[in-house]
Structures are given as structure tokens and as C-alpha cells.
């Protein structure tokens, strides 16, 4: 993680107290029953985006935005401990949670690590002020896990590159301003050496966005179509044909974010699917199941999963910071989040029984809906299969999987339909 550490950092406790007082005086409070985290919200709606921009601006004006971002790019230059303290204090307040992932936890840190000085100055302060929302244009309709096989094409034409192709599964693209877009620029090089990452303006002529309705009813995912879109060469992130280095860094931040270990998320914590324990306990009481030993064990299991996820994030993060675990260990957190989302969805349906299918209230059926969308937590942000490959190959050092396209010019790599 990149951060400027200065000798005169405010200590965490004083920062916490200052944040507590400021939040109480300035941030809107959640009304009882209003969701406190994206996991409780469950579904993103269009009204959240403009509201998030307002809330982020409020944080910025109060001096509590971009806590772990360097000062020279509009942040506070403080430590993950300050961010955790702030996040703990935010409970009960309305926060711009939709900006956490990917804007703050994935795209921002990638620009910080890999972008040019001009790109950092153009985008990061705007992000921190709530004026710019970022999105990832990575996956393509032809395949998700094989990211380095992208076929979206950027062809150089003087000072611009001409973009053609399609990206998919980009959450919230319709509400975003800029995207990190991975393209192929050299078709004669082997696949990892012919890609370039661009910062692409989302809303411009030649870019068409289609929203995708998901099984849970939400439609935050999008597909984009590019038709001769000109991109200035100054919007190349990193090197031309060096896009894989940028994408790798982006994936690292993504695994951290999806696993819940990003220091750049602000308020409410991580996007973690599945019901929170407190609402589950309320539901158990409401359905008169408090005396059922089997149900009590399931609630306890759900609670333990949540605590262990926090403990695992703390451990793996500490291990990576002290270099006792290699950076790909972020995949361990990602795998836990996918597996736990699966189990939590199971537990929800098990406890709700037939009320997950038919009930007078939306919350009960919500457990059924969460179950339908159960696998989303094992797919979004890189599939758990890929996480298992990464853990076995890059944490445990086991041999890499055979790849038919290794060291082959990309133009000669066989493609499916």
C-alpha cells in the first residue's frame, strides 16, 4: 500500500474522538431500520449514487475523506488504524458506501500505485471530493477468469488510440465517470505482453451502456460497447503494452477489497453478502424459534463466521504488511468471503424455512432472494476457483496450471465463440 507517513501524525485516539464529535454534528443519522451497510441494503439503487456524491463532499469538507490517501492527492495521509477507528465511529450514520468498491478500494489505489503524476492529480482529488466515480472495465463477454485474454482492441492512431470491443460485469458503470479499461494493443506479442490499461471517460460518443438485471432483481451490473472511441495517449496508465502490470496491481487491490481487507474503504466496512447476525437474531425471535436448539446453533455459526472473517482479515493483513505472507495471500481473504457468503445464505434459508419462499414481509423473502444470488459472492471480484489457484500456486508455490497460450503470439491463440 502506498501512503506517506509523516512524523507528526495525529494519534489514533485523538483522531477517533475528533471524528466522533464531527460525525455527531455533521453527518445525517440513519433512522432505525435503515440499512447500515451494503450487505444489509442488499441491492444498489440509482438514487444512491448522487446521494453518495453529496455525502462524500460532506466528509471532504469536514476533513475526513481519503483517510489513507496521501495528502498531495487530497487525502489525509493517515494509517489503516485511523481508517478503522473512523469506520468504527461511522456506525449509525448515513455513509457513501457505494463509493467504497471499486472507486476507493480498487481503482483509486491502482491509479495511486501505477498512474502518472498528472493522472493522480487529475483523478484522485476529484474522487476524494466525491466529484468522480470510478469503475473497472476488465471482464469481457468471452470470459471472466482468463483476464489476460482480453480482446477489446485499442489501435494507435497518432496521439490517440481507437477503442473497439465490449466489457461486462462492471458494477455501477452507468453512474461512473471514468473507467480503468484493459485492452489489447499488440496482437503479435504473447498475451500478457500486448495489453494496455487506459483511463476511459465513461459517458462519451461511441460508448453504449446496457444494464444487466441480476437474479436478485438488482441491475447494478453493466455491459459496455465501444465503437471507434478515441482515447488520448495521455490516458494510458503505466506503459503501452505494459497493461498486465497495472491489471495485476488492480487485482491485488480487488482481492483485498472483496476479502474485506482494504484500508481505503470508508464507513460501514466491506461489501459482504449475507445477513448480519443481529437481523438474523431478530428474525429468529420474530418467528418464535429462540428455543430451537438447531436454530440456536445455526445463528451462533453465522455469528462465528462474521467474527472469524474479521480476525482472518486482521491476521492476513498483518502478515502481508510484515512480509511474513506474500502479497497473493489476499486471495485467502477473498476465498473466505466467497465461502462464508455461501454458508450464510444457506443458514438464512435453513432458519427461515418456508417463509423464505412466501411471507407477508419482504425481509423474510429476502433470505430466499439472497439464497438465489448465493453464488454471486463466489464469482464477483474473481471467482473462488481463481482464488484457489492463486493460493496453491503463489502462496504455497505449487506448479502453475498448463496454459495453451503461454508464449504464443496472441493472434495465434485459439479462441472459442
Amino acid at each position: 500500500m502506498t501512503q506517506s507517513v509523516t512524523a507528526d501524525l495525529e494519534d489514533v485516539e485523538s483522531f477517533r474522538l475528533r471524528a466522533r464529535a464531527w460525525l455527531a454534528a455533521n453527518m445525517p443519522r440513519l433512522v432505525p431500520g435503515q440499512a447500515n451497510s451494503l450487505e444489509e441494503i442488499g441491492r444498489i439503487n440509482d438514487a444512491m449514487w448522487p446521494r453518495a456524491r453529496e455525502l462524500q463532499r460532506l466528509l471532504y469538507d469536514g476533513g475526513f475523506a481519503g483517510i489513507c490517501y496521501p495528502r498531495e492527492y487530497g487525502g489525509l495521509g493517515l494509517t489503516p488504524a485511523h481508517q478503522r477507528a473512523f469506520n468504527a465511529e461511522c456506525a449509525g450514520y448515513e455513509m457513501p458506501l457505494v463509493l467504497n468498491t471499486p472507486t476507493f478500494s480498487i481503482c483509486g489505489p491502482t491509479i495511486l500505485d501505477m498512474g502518472s503524476e498528472e493522472q493522480k492529480r487529475q483523478h484522485l482529488p476529484a474522487v476524494i471530493r466525491g466529484e468522480e466515480i470510478l469503475v473497472q472495465f476488465l471482464s469481457e463477454p468471452r470470459g471472466g477468469s482468463d483476464l489476460a485474454g482480453v480482446t477489446t482492441r485499442a489501435t494507435r492512431d497518432g496521439d490517440v488510440f481507437i477503442l473497439n470491443g465490449s466489457k461486462i460485469w462492471s458494477s455501477g458503470a452507468y453512474a461512473a465517470d471514468w473507467a480503468l479499461c484493459l485492452t489489447r494493443t499488440d496482437w503479435d506479442a504473447p498475451k500478457h505482453r500486448g495489453m494496455t490499461m487506459f483511463l476511459v471517460k465513461v459517458h462519451q460518443p461511441g460508448v453504449q451502456i446496457r444494464r444487466i438485471r441480476q437474479v436478485g432483481g438488482g441491475d447494478e451490473f453493466c455491459q459496455e460497447f465501444f465503437d471507434d472511441v478515441p482515447i488520448p495517449a495521455s490516458d494510458v496508465v503505466g506503459e503501452v503494452n505494459g497493461g498486465w502490470a497495472v491489471a495485476s496491481r488492480q487485482l491485488f487491490h480487488e482481492r483485498n477489497a472483496v476479502g474485506g481487507g482494504s484500508p481505503y474503504t470508508s464507513g460501514g466496512g466491506q461489501r459482504r453478502r449475507g445477513p448480519g447476525t443481529s437481523s438474523l437474531i431478530d428474525m429468529v425471535r420474530a418467528t418464535g424459534q429462540s428455543g430451537d436448539v438447531r436454530v440456536r446453533e445455526l445463528v451462533a455459526e453465522a455469528h462465528a463466521i462474521g467474527r472469524i472473517q474479521q480476525q482472518l482479515i486482521a491476521r492476513v493483513t498483518a502478515g502481508m504488511l510484515s512480509q511474513q505472507l506474500p502479497p497473493p495471500s489476499a486471495a485467502i481473504m477473498r476465498l473466505f468471503s466467497g465461502e462464508s457468503a455461501t454458508r450464510l445464505a444457506e443458514i438464512g434459508v435453513e432458519i427461515m424455512g418456508s417463509h423464505a419462499a412466501a411471507a407477508d414481509d419482504a425481509a423474510s423473502v429476502g433470505y430466499g432472494v439472497s439464497f438465489l444470488a448465493r453464488q454471486a459472492g463466489s464469482l464477483g471480484g474473481g471467482s473462488t476457483e481463481m482464488a484457489r489457484n492463486i493460493i496453491s500456486e503463489r502462496v504455497l508455490g505449487m506448479p502453475r496450471e498448463y496454459a495453451a497460450d503461454r508464449d504464443v503470439p496472441f493472434s495465434q491463440v485459439r479462441q472459442g465463440r
Binding site: R296, R307, S392, P399
Partner: protein, 375 residues
């Protein structure tokens, strides 16, 4: 173990590991198991000289920790013992020493504490009773007031190192509530009968109490505070037990990963098969989660944090289950050799299985956790 061990803790770990590898290799564990000896008192005394029993008991009672978190320091020993499935009454001795040290009449127990710390005496926590699951807060054993002390009647079983212990910490129901009493093994009316045990060197016994007279000085925890004391003992037991289990699992995972690199089938190492790589990835995940939650429980118990009861049951409900999941999968990955007496993996599976079911099964801890959460 934690990623942030201090230099002193690392030195202590190295000293303990060196002693155990030299004095108690797996070949020696097998010999002790074959001869029906749990542990040798002289070996225990020499190990104790390294400070094994001096850290959980608080400084007021003469204890001395390395890091300021004495239980966390003791967990270093437990983890190392798990790596070698060592014998020795580490859990009982430390738990009872801590209980005596935290007692209002700690001064009455100074001699016993000193003997426990030195490894010259052995104590055990008698928390089970025959025919029942784990219910340490509702003992059927009765304590009838007798002068300043009590007359104890009842039966405890699954008492660790019962046939080698000099003292038992017994929880009993008195007319005015729970009490905890320290009972010498030689007390008239106390009978110890060894039981069958799954672990080769961790042995258990049944302890019958037939009107055993305990003097007033033997009352460790009076009726008004025994519940809190037992909860505290559960925290300590679970922390030490989970630390030992993660030590065992880490060692098994290490040699199984190595096996996957060394063993070839169809001309390639096992470690090159994706079907197996993914299972190793799952085990790595579970192992790291076990380490994380065991560590959190140890810190919470050591600091007597507000959520220490909760985190103990979170840890035990997870570690108990996942540890045996990992080791059983490692048995599978070894093939036929994994289910032989000759291969060492069963020593680890025995220890992890004993630790899974003893002092509360994962299910029992989930029920306890539901109580703590007020479901």
C-alpha cells in the same frame, strides 16, 4: 502463531522447540504410549524450568510473563507441544495455577502454586461428570458444608492426567450455589481409576469422591463468584487447547504440502494436479482462519476482555471442526500410508480429535455462543 511476536517470545519459542525436539521426539511419544506412561515427572519438571507454568498465573501470585500477556505466552508452549503431540499436563497445571492465583485466598495456596510452577506438582481441572456432555456450570457433585470447609460427594470423569495429578480443581453444587475446591489426590475417600484414552500419551481418569473432607483453606472460589471463575477457566482451557491444535495442524499441513511436491503419479508431482491444489488451498484457508481465531481468543482471555467468553466459543466451534477436517484431508492425500500405525499423522489426528471433543464440542460451543449472544 501471531505475526507480531516480540524478540523475547521468539527466543522462548525457539528454546521450547529445541527442548521438545531433543527430549520428546515422536519416537519417544510412541514409546511412552506403548508403555502406558502419560509423561515422566522428571521430564515435566525440567520442561517447567523453561517457564512453562509460570506465565498464566498472575504476577501477584509469583507469576512472570514474557510479553505482559501471560496466557498468550503459554499458548506458545501449547502450540509447540501440538507440533510434536507432546505429553504433559500443561493445560491443567496452568489453568489451576491461574485459578489459585486469582482466588481471594491466593496466599493460602502459595505453596501449591510454587510447586505447580516448578513442575513438582501436577493439577487437573475436573470439569466432566459421567453420563453427561460438557456442563461445567451445573455439576451433580455435591458439597455439604462441614465447619469452614465441605464434604464432597460425586464422580468426575474424563479428568486429564487424572492418574498422575496431585491436585484436582473440583466444581461442586453447595446449598448456596457453585463452589470450587482444591482436592489433594491423596485425600481419604478419593479414588482414581484410569480410563481408555484416544491419545497415546494424554490420558484420562475417573475420580470418585466419597465424602471427601476439604478444609476451609481448600475453598478456591466461594459460592458467590464460582460462575465467573468457571467462565474464566473455560477461556483459559479453550485458548490453550486451540493453540495446541493449531500447532498440530500446522505441522501436518507442512509435511503434507512437502509430500505433494515429493510424491509423483503419472510422471508428475501430486502438487501439479488442480483437483488437489484446490484442496490444499481450502486447507490453507482453514488453517489461517484457525490461527486467526485461536490467536484472538488467546489475546481476549489474556486481557480479560469483555468479549473473551464469546471469542473462546467462536474459536473452539471453528478450530475444533476445521482442524480435523484439514488433518483428515491430509490423511486422504497421503493415500494408504495415511491410515497406518507406522505413519505419524495418526498421532496428530488423535490429538486434534481429543481437542475437538474435549472441553466442549464445536456444537456445544455453538450452543454456548447462542446463550452469550442472548438469542
Amino acid at each position: 502463531m501471531d505475526f507480531d511476536l516480540t524478540a523475547d517470545q521468539k527466543l522462548f519459542r525457539a528454546t521450547t522447540r529445541e527442548f521438545l525436539e531433543k527430549e520428546m521426539p515422536l519416537t519417544r511419544v510412541r514409546e511412552l504410549g506403548a508403555s502406558g506412561v502419560g509423561f515422566e515427572p522428571d521430564w515435566w519438571r525440567r520442561g517447567s524450568e523453561l517457564g512453562w507454568n509460570a506465565m498464566t498465573v498472575g504476577p501477584a501470585a509469583g507469576g512472570d510473563s514474557i510479553s505482559g500477556e501471560g496466557l498468550v505466552d503459554t499458548c506458545i508452549v501449547a502450540e509447540e507441544m501440538g507440533r510434536l503431540t507432546s505429553p504433559g499436563p500443561l493445560l491443567g497445571v496452568n489453568l489451576v495455577a491461574a485459578a489459585l492465583g486469582e482466588a481471594a485466598n491466593a496466599a493460602d495456596h502459595a505453596e501449591v502454586i510454587a510447586a505447580l510452577v516448578a513442575g513438582e506438582a501436577v493439577a487437573s481441572w475436573a470439569s466432566y461428570e459421567p453420563g453427561r456432555g460438557w456442563a461445567p456450570l451445573t455439576p451433580g457433585t455435591r458439597a455439604v458444608p462441614d465447619g469452614e470447609g465441605y464434604l464432597l460427594t460425586g464422580v468426575k470423569d474424563r479428568v486429564e492426567a487424572g492418574d498422575q495429578a496431585d491436585y484436582f480443581l473440583v466444581t461442586a453444587t453447595a446449598p448456596d450455589g457453585l463452589v470450587q475446591l482444591l482436592v489433594p489426590a491423596g485425600a481419604p475417600g478419593l479414588t482414581v481409576t484410569p480410563e481408555q484414552s484416544l491419545d497415546l500419551v494424554r490420558r484420562y481418569a475417573r475420580v470418585e469422591l466419597d465424602g471427601v473432607s476439604v478444609a476451609g483453606t481448600g475453598v478456591v472460589v466461594p459460592a458467590d463468584s464460582a460462575q465467573a471463575a468457571v467462565n474464566r477457566q473455560i477461556q483459559i482451557a479453550v485458548a490453550l487447547q486451540c493453540a495446541e491444535t493449531v500447532g498440530a495442524v500446522q505441522r501436518v499441513f507442512e509435511f503434507t504440502v512437502q509430500w505433494a511436491f515429493d510424491r509423483y503419479s503419472f510422471g508428475r508431482p501430486l502438487a501439479s494436479y488442480q483437483a488437489l491444489k484446490h484442496r490444499f488451498a481450502d486447507s490453507k484457508l482453514w488453517l489461517e482462519a484457525c490461527l486467526a481465531t485461536a490467536g484472538a481468543a488467546a489475546h481476549a482471555a489474556s486481557q480479560q476482555a469483555a468479549d473473551a467468553d464469546e471469542l473462546a466459543s467462536v474459536a473452539k466451534s471453528y478450530v475444533g471442526q476445521r482442524a480435523t477436517d484439514i488433518i483428515q484431508d491430509c490423511v486422504q492425500l497421503h493415500g494408504g500410508i495415511g491410515v497406518t500405525w507406522e505413519h505419524d499423522i495418526h498421532l496428530y489426528l488423535r490429538r486434534a480429535t481429543v481437542n475437538r471433543v474435549m472441553f466442549g464440542t464445536p456444537a456445544e460451543h455453538r450452543r454456548r455462543l447462542a446463550d452469550i449472544l442472548g438469542v
